[in-house]
């Protein structure tokens, strides 16, 4: 019976080194372009996956007006997805459309934050997730309106109008539900505690973020931490909710290491494109 090679032998190390050296070093301009595509995928995937999650509520909301409002937010986010992923495909230059990127990548190629792929939970948990993300998304887009890349600035300008409204609404709702009844307060505190660790990924900068910030294309997410804290603290205070003390961050989504939930989202979302390759819809 053939045995697997021992990974600890010097030979194996040598092989690994060789493998590492095998690829040609990419010139800096390409590295910047790769980072740019990564950044655009992050923007598009956040909007896509959160929009998808929100759209799961359509027809099942607690009151008709909220059903409509939640669908509106989902619609805005799917619209933003088309813009970000469209630009990602263009910058990548391999002829992939926004739909190709949305429907034909597997989970490891998705770059969304873990927070947005979390299951909806009750309507309060959905609103808490929305608020934590909106507060970040708003700051991020506001900074992006001054991007060195005019295409990015233009998309950000459009999205910012929508997201300003998202933030206003989710903040109001978090305040109302935190303040409402003992039950709603308990539910909202539980939702906050549950999602807090996932929200921290938003500020975890990596090499891509540093490259984008250096090129003046996007803000370093770490720089958004302080204003985010200010917004969140003010809203939580009005909502009579207690900010969790833990600073632990669940990370990985931005680099493609997701929770188990994303696979199911994609299995559902991509079903038709996968089952009938090449068909036009």
């Amino acid at each position: 019976m053939p045995s697997l090679p021992d990974m600890m032998t010097p030979d194996a190390e040598g092989l690994a080194r060789q493998a590492g050296q095998g690829g040609a070093h990419a010139p800096a301009a390409d590295a910047d372009q790769d980072a740019f595509v990564e950044f655009l995928l992050r923007m598009g995937d956040n909007a896509l996956i959160l929009g998808h999650r929100n759209s799961e509520w359509c027809g099942h909301g607690p009151v008709l007006e909220e059903d409509i409002a939640m669908s509106n937010i989902a619609l805005d986010l799917i619209g933003q997805t088309a813009l970000w992923l469209g630009l990602a495909g263009e910058v990548e230059g391999k002829g992939r459309s926004a739909d190709d990127l949305a429907y034909l990548r597997d989970a490891w190629d998705f770059r969304n934050l873990l927070l947005v792929e979390r299951p909806n939970g009750d309507f309060g948990a959905t609103l808490m997730r929305q608020f934590l993300f909106d507060a970040f998304h708003f700051l991020q887009l506001r900074a992006l309106t001054g991007s060195a890349d005019p295409r990015v600035a233009e998309i950000a300008q459009k999205a910012l109008k929508e997201v300003s409204y998202h933030l206003e609404r989710s903040a109001e709702q978090v305040i109302a539900l935190g303040d409402g009844t003992a039950e709603s307060h308990a539910r909202m505190q539980a939702a906050l505690d549950d999602q807090w660790g996932y929200a921290q990924e938003m500020f975890a900068s990596d090499a891509t973020d540093v490259t984008m910030a250096a090129a003046g294309i996007a803000p370093d997410p770490a720089s958004l931490r302080k204003p985010w804290d200010d917004t969140v603290d003010a809203v939580l205070a009005q909502a009579t909710l207690k900010r969790p003390e833990s600073s632990f961050a669940h990370k990985g989504g931005k680099q493609g290491t997701h929770t188990e939930h994303l696979g199911y989202i994609l299995a559902e979302m991509q079903f038709l494109q996968r089952a009938y390759p090449g068909a036009s819809w």
Binding site: I68, N72, D99, S184
Partner: protein
Amino acid sequence: MYAQLVKSEGKSQAELTPEDIAFQERIDRGEKIEPKEWMPEGYRKTLIRQIGQHAHSEIVGQLPEGNWITRAPTLERKQILLAKVQDEAGHGLYLYCAAETLGVSRDQLLEKLHSGEMKYSSIFNYPTLTWADMGAVGWLVDGAAIMNQVPLQRTSYGPYSRAMIRICKEESFHQRQGYAIMMKMATGTPEQKRMAQDALNRLWYPSLMMFGPSDKDSVHSVQSMAWKIKMNSNDELRQKFVDQTVPQAEYLGLTVPDPNLKWNEEKGGYDFSEPDWDEFYQVLKGNGPCNKERLGARVKAWEDGAWYRDAMVAHAKKKAARAVAAE
């Protein structure tokens, strides 16, 4: 048509009061009846039933199409479908508001929906099994709804008439988007074409049922038509729907699943097979393929949302109290 078998509360000729007669004369002159004006109790009750049933149909009608939002095949299709289903919720909202002007609250109507006392259109108890159903529902179901709703823009009750005017504008967009999906499918791959034909096969007769039973079995029509709550007879609208839809199916290269379908030169319309009315009554009784799921989903949304609604009310009260205290 989202109102089926709405019970009408008329009086016999001998029971009519001078007010009843004057009211009927206003309607005959084409005047609109407005919320605060006098109206016969039967008119009010019949309208509540009809508008309520229509409103319920809109919100239950979100579910069969909502079933495909998370599986829509492109970003654009997802946006269009989401916008469409959201419109249905909006229609529900207009109609519940129109019903409220008659002195019944949205919560009261929803309670009656959840208890099974009030119905919604039979069509929404059928499943949506493939993406082509998103096309067929828009094309056939919204198409049938428009057939009925366009004349209802002229209905005698002002708020209902105005709600219908807004709704009709959006419904015609819905029908076009449905037909656009059917076009894509019918001119697509062999599998897509098969899906499109299958959707037509399954939804054709349930769509014909939307107009309600045959005129000879439709017991409540006469009074409702006199009051201009119902503008055309069931058979009249069904015939109109078939005449309009058959050429559209032909254009798509699809076959209407009716061996008896034939152009009748003399009447200037198609002869066609009646739907299976036993099936129709079974669906109304609760034995359709999705009755339990549809109503179950509505009840679940309502019950799961109770804490949310309570909290919103509690917060509004606290906020108002704080505002008073601050003065």
